[in-house]
């Protein structure tokens, strides 16, 4: 079998829709399909659409060991994060205006928190350790009398490390603080159980688990009841928490994706792990290769790796047949490397030199072997071009030099 180029290694950014999911979605679009408005109560078209939406809701709830009535449909994890954090903060503002999160959350959480700061809320941004993890004790120490919400991610999108959600959930429950978890990266990779993990709200999306883009969900606990203020008004859909006509085909896609994610989680994990290990074995003879983030507490499909003394964007340019993402942000005006890698305390050279490879359901061993070969060629070529590599080889410590920042 010949390789199709370019090869996709960016499953943490998004996944292709599984053909079985696409099939289910296509049945909800045309006149011959299930196209009705799920909110139409007066005819069979509406009833049939509602039935499909409720089945999908059950599938998502099943993944979380939750009740279907605890699932609110949204447009994706960003909206879910907004609804959860602003919704909880606003609803509980009389109890207090202090919120706890971390420095390496997704921008959907960080920018939402910044907005709350503008509204007069006080935020605590916990610092991860050099492995990218938040210790439960840090959360316990940060909770105050006026804390209402703790928002932390399950799996970090850049480095793939996994926080101890159950231990943090235990602390939040005991201290009577609402616990929101951004779990956009988890479905199909890690199981989630809202009971054992004691989570009050979970942000989810479909497109990182072989479902479509443009649809997500927020889990909102019923017992003990968690209430939040709606952010989008009009029509009172989703028990008033999120108005707007439900997109049947999107929701059916998410439901089917989550059904498959639960069903096939073991084989998906084993597949990803085997590919990751194959990749690692292929690059381990190279010098100055560093894995970013905890290696043990990590999802199997993510490998964030730095090739020291080579800049990430030029590396990506060399690897033009590999679709990977870079921790370097040379294209942005700020020239700042990834805030996540910086928060881990990575040196600038390493932060600028990172690539994120993420493997998935449709990645093959042959593709990984090809990638390993390309990485060797590109890194060797760019190190030949790199003055920093020269200096490293001459035994010069880069930190000993006074660089003129520009």
């Amino acid at each position: 079998m010949s390789l199709q180029l370019p090869i996709y290694f960016d499953y943490s950014a998004t996944t292709p829709v599984d053909p079985r999911v696409a099939e289910a979605m296509m049945n909800c679009l045309t006149m011959a399909g299930n196209f009705g408005n799920p909110a139409s109560r007066s005819h069979a078209f509406g009833w049939k659409a509602e039935e499909a939406v409720e089945q999908a809701r059950q599938n998502v709830a099943d993944y979380l060991n939750a009740d279907a009535r605890e699932i609110v449909w949204t447009s994706g994890a960003t909206e879910s994060d907004n609804l959860a954090i602003k919704g909880l903060a606003h609803f509980n503002h009389k109890r207090g205006k202090h919120i706890i999160t971390s420095k390496i959350e997704h921008k959907a959480v960080l920018d939402t928190c910044r907005q709350l700061e503008r509204e007069g809320y006080e935020l605590t941004y916990l610092e991860p350790d050099n492995q990218g993890l938040i210790a439960p004790q840090q959360v316990a120490d940060a909770i105050r009398e006026d804390t209402t919400v703790v928002s932390l991610m399950h799996v970090n999108n850049e480095i793939g490390v996994v926080n101890d959600i159950a231990a943090i959930g235990e602390i939040c429950r005991e201290r009577k603080v609402f616990f929101h978890v951004d779990a956009a990266q988890s479905p199909g990779k890690l199981p989630i159980d809202v009971e054992t993990m004691k989570i009050d709200a979970i942000s989810l999306c479909a497109h990182k688990a072989y479902g479509p883009k443009g649809v997500g969900a927020l889990y909102v606990r019923r017992k003990p009841r968690v209430r939040l203020e709606a952010q989008i008004h009009g029509g009172g859909h989703e028990r008033g928490m999120r108005s707007g006509t439900l997109p049947t085909h999107q929701i059916v896609g998410m439901g089917e994706a989550f059904r498959l994610a639960k069903l096939e989680i073991d084989q998906d994990r084993e597949h990803a792990l085997a590919l990751r290990d194959r990749f690692l074995a292929g690059v381990k003879d190279m010098e100055e290769v560093h894995i970013n983030g905890s290696f043990d507490q990590r999802v199997p499909h993510n490998l964030n790796v730095s090739f020291a003394f080579v800049e990430g964007e030029s590396l990506i340019m060399s690897l033009k047949d590999l679709a990977v993402s870079s921790g370097s942000a040379c294209t942005s005006a700020s020239l700042e490397p990834s805030y996540v890698l910086r928060a881990l305390g990575l040196s600038d050279e390493l932060a600028h030199s990172s690539l994120r490879f993420s493997f998935g359901r449709f990645t093959t061993a042959e593709e990984v072997d090809y990638a390993v070969g390309q990485v060797h060629l590109a890194v060797e070529k760019l190190r030949e071009l790199s003055p920093l590599w020269d200096m490293h080889k001459d035994g010069i410590d880069l930190n000993s030099i006074e660089w003129a920042a520009h």
């Binding site: 800049e311 964007e313 020239l335 600038d348 020269d390 880069l398 660089w403 520009h406």
Partner: protein, 127 residues
Amino acid sequence: MAYSDKVIDHYENPRNVGKMDADSDNVGTGMVGAPACGDVMRLQIQVSDDGIIEDAKFKTYGCGSAIASSSLLTEWVKGKTLDEAGEIKNTQIAEELALPPVKIHCSVLAEDAIKAAITDLREKRSQ
């Protein structure tokens, strides 16, 4: 992000990659940028006694535009006098390579590099 054909050409076939003896009286070295910013350029020129740039070498840690800017510069400065080389402007580099606005700093860095190399050589010779 889309690169121009010229950037890709210089990136894939960089001209004058290398290292000269920085201690030589005929060599001027300019090292500019910082790892923190994601670009470091080292540009070296070998200059004849009558002030003509006979050869130029570079090594660059940075994005494709930074590599292309320095590669192009080594081509341009060869055969020029120090004064002529010192007059090269970043805007000329940016224009030649069709750099987008977010990459203009790469051409600025290249201009800084040649100026630094010239200064280094002149300081050596004035001693």
